[in-house]
């Protein structure tokens, strides 16, 4: 049983169109640290590839606002801030460190991305961790 949406949706036309949301992107370098790293490894959380709107053809958009939230393992800020496009932190490494990035476009539309700094728990020697 199938109906074309267009036939049903024509009946409605109230309200203003929803603003196009931005695209929130997080890159973490390195992607993981050794378990119990004890704040030895600086880690970059980079949201600078976030854009005002996601497009097939790259277009220069308006600047977006950044708001980071970090949770999980305890962390220390090395550089940047929770409102900057990127920041560098260290982690205790007792558990994964989770980053949530809220990107807000000038239109007010927003998008959120989450990413996690992993913990290397097995194969530590292969990953360059101290035994």
């Amino acid at each position: 049983m199938r109906l074309p949406a267009g036939a049903a949706l024509f009946a409605v036309a109230c309200g203003s169109p929803t603003p196009v949301p931005p695209s929130a992107v997080i890159q973490i370098t390195p992607a993981a640290i050794c378990v119990d790293d004890a704040h030895r490894t600086p880690v970059t959380f980079d949201g600078s590839r976030s854009v005002e709107r996601l497009a097939v053809v790259p277009v220069a958009g308006e600047p977006v606002r950044f708001s980071w939230t970090l949770s999980g393992a305890s962390w220390r800020l090395v550089s940047g801030s929770l409102q900057s496009p990127s920041l560098v932190v260290t982690s205790a490494g007792d558990r994964p460190l989770h980053a949530s990035l809220l990107v807000t476009a000038p239109s007010g539309a927003s998008a959120r991305a989450i990413a996690t700094l992993g913990l290397t728990v097995d194969g530590a020697a292969d990953a360059g961790c101290a035994p």
Binding site: M1, F10, V12, A113, T120
Partner: protein, 443 residues
């Protein structure tokens, strides 16, 4: 690089009403039941016939003697929290509400179809006819049983056949489950210039309607006793579509395929006992096949869920001719096993407590119309999970060693509460006034 958080599919309520028309959104839990049924914690599949019978157990419609219609509205709050060990709670609250309408009626006239009963019901959420929130990862903490289920349209159409001079009713119904299909193709326009590149986007949208069956039987072996048995098929809303993007030799094939598991297969048995005219006690027990649960990403959860037995009971007392009081209680054990691996579903055993009243409006000159009121409170035990770090999968095969990123590690707790209130108007139809003691279906 991480893909952006959630994808939300929103269809406009008024538009969707145009292609469907019927009863209830949930199985005896907030949100969406018809007010009398909600006040009785969703119990009452044995009958006698009520406005919820078309969805609860269409076989119970066989005792219906007069057409009855109802309109209702409800609203409430859903609040839940999640906290990893040693970290503050993350609490979320949201409003859930909706409208409903139902009509049940015997086949008109005295012809050969006089033993047929029909029913139709419709429930529409306040905000979205279909809403699917899809987190980007399987380990995102979620309230799986209520998040997407709370906001959906429910349409049910059914009927019953009275057999053996009305002693037994055999009924069937179909629940319509809305979904969305939106295949997308993106291509560069070969005729465009380098200075002004253009893209061709071919976007189709369809609203496929899934069907979930309901088959039930009800009987009245004694004047004061009703029994019933019903099977309800599972209902899953889907949002899916291919997403094929090509740019020269580069191809991105990134389909969406989301499934909002609304209700499992349920096999339930119920009894209703009316020792005196002014008192009815009813109880249901149902086997819910939660082991077939799929996550929003249409995958079996890790670990998979378990089948469960759920129990509901209700009592209804006429304290005076025009006022009926109701109360109900339901116990829903959690189908979620200990979560030592990937999933982080906030769920534990749940208790639903309900109360309500039906008030006759004869004094206001509204004939046999009744005002129905109810309130419901749902409490959940605290869910706890301890992750087994040795059992968590490697989250990054590209990096040497085994990486863990689970959002619930190393341990977490969480819980939820919900409340809901609603009111409705029940309208007996037809020209003949009903006998004072024969208005069961309108209560």
């Amino acid at each position: 690089m991480t893909r952006t958080g959630a994808i939300r599919v929103r269809l406009v309520v008024a538009a969707t009403v145009a292609w469907g028309s019927a009863a209830r959104a949930q199985t005896g839990v907030p949100f969406g039941d018809e007010p009398r049924s909600a006040a009785l914690a969703g119990s009452g599949l044995a009958g006698p016939a009520g406005l919820d019978s078309v969805d609860r157990n269409p076989g119970a419609l066989h005792t219906l003697e007069r057409p009855v219609a109802a309109l209702w509205a409800h609203g409430g709050s859903l609040r839940w929290w999640f906290a990893r060990r040693g970290e503050p709670r993350d609490t979320q609250t949201r409003f859930v509400g909706g409208f409903g309408v139902a009509l049940v009626a015997p086949w008109p006239g005295d012809g050969p179809l006089r033993t047929v009963r029909l029913g139709v019901g419709l429930h529409v959420p306040f905000e979205h006819a279909l809403s699917v929130d899809a987190p980007p990862r399987d380990d995102v903490p979620s309230l799986a049983l209520y998040e997407n289920r709370a906001e959906r349209m429910a349409v049910t159409v059914g009927g019953a056949l009275a057999l053996l001079d009305g002693a037994i009713g055999l009924g069937a119904a179909i629940r319509f489950v809305p979904s969305l299909r939106t295949p997308t193709r993106v291509r560069y326009d070969p005729g465009s210039s380098e200075r002004r590149p253009r893209v061709l986007i071919d976007l189709e949208r369809e609203l496929p309607v899934g069907l979930a069956p309901v088959v039930g039987v009800a009987a009245q072996p004694l004047r004061a006793l009703h029994v019933g048995l019903v099977y309800r098929g599972r209902a899953v809303m889907r949002a899916e579509g291919s997403n094929d993007t090509r740019a020269g030799g580069i191809r991105l094939d990134d389909p969406i395929d989301f499934a909002a598991f609304v209700e499992p297969d349920v096999l339930a048995f119920g009894v209703s006992w009316q020792p005196v005219a002014a008192l009815r006690v009813q109880a249901d027990a149902g086997w819910a096949r939660w082991s077939r649960f799929v996550t929003i990403h249409d995958r079996r959860p890790d670990p998979p869920w378990r089948d469960m037995i759920e129990a509901r009971a209700g009592v209804e007392i006429d304290i005076v001719r025009s006022i009926t009081l109701r109360a109900g209680l339901a116990y829903e054990p959690t189908p979620v096993p200990p979560q030592r691996r990937v999933s982080n579903f906030v769920d534990a055993d749940r208790l639903l407590v309900t109360a309500g009243a039906g008030i006759g409006l004869e004094a206001l000159g509204l004939g046999r119309a009744r005002l129905e009121l109810y309130g419901a409170w749902l409490a959940m035990a605290t869910a706890r999970a301890h992750k087994d770090l040795d059992a968590l999968p490697d989250d990054d095969a590209q990096t040497p060693g085994r990486q863990i990123r689970n959002l619930g590690a190393p341990a977490w707790s969480g819980s939820a509460t919900a409340w809901q209130a609603g009111l409705g108007l029940t309208l007996p139809l037809g020209r003949d006034p009903w006998p004072a003691d024969d208005d069961e279906a309108s209560r």
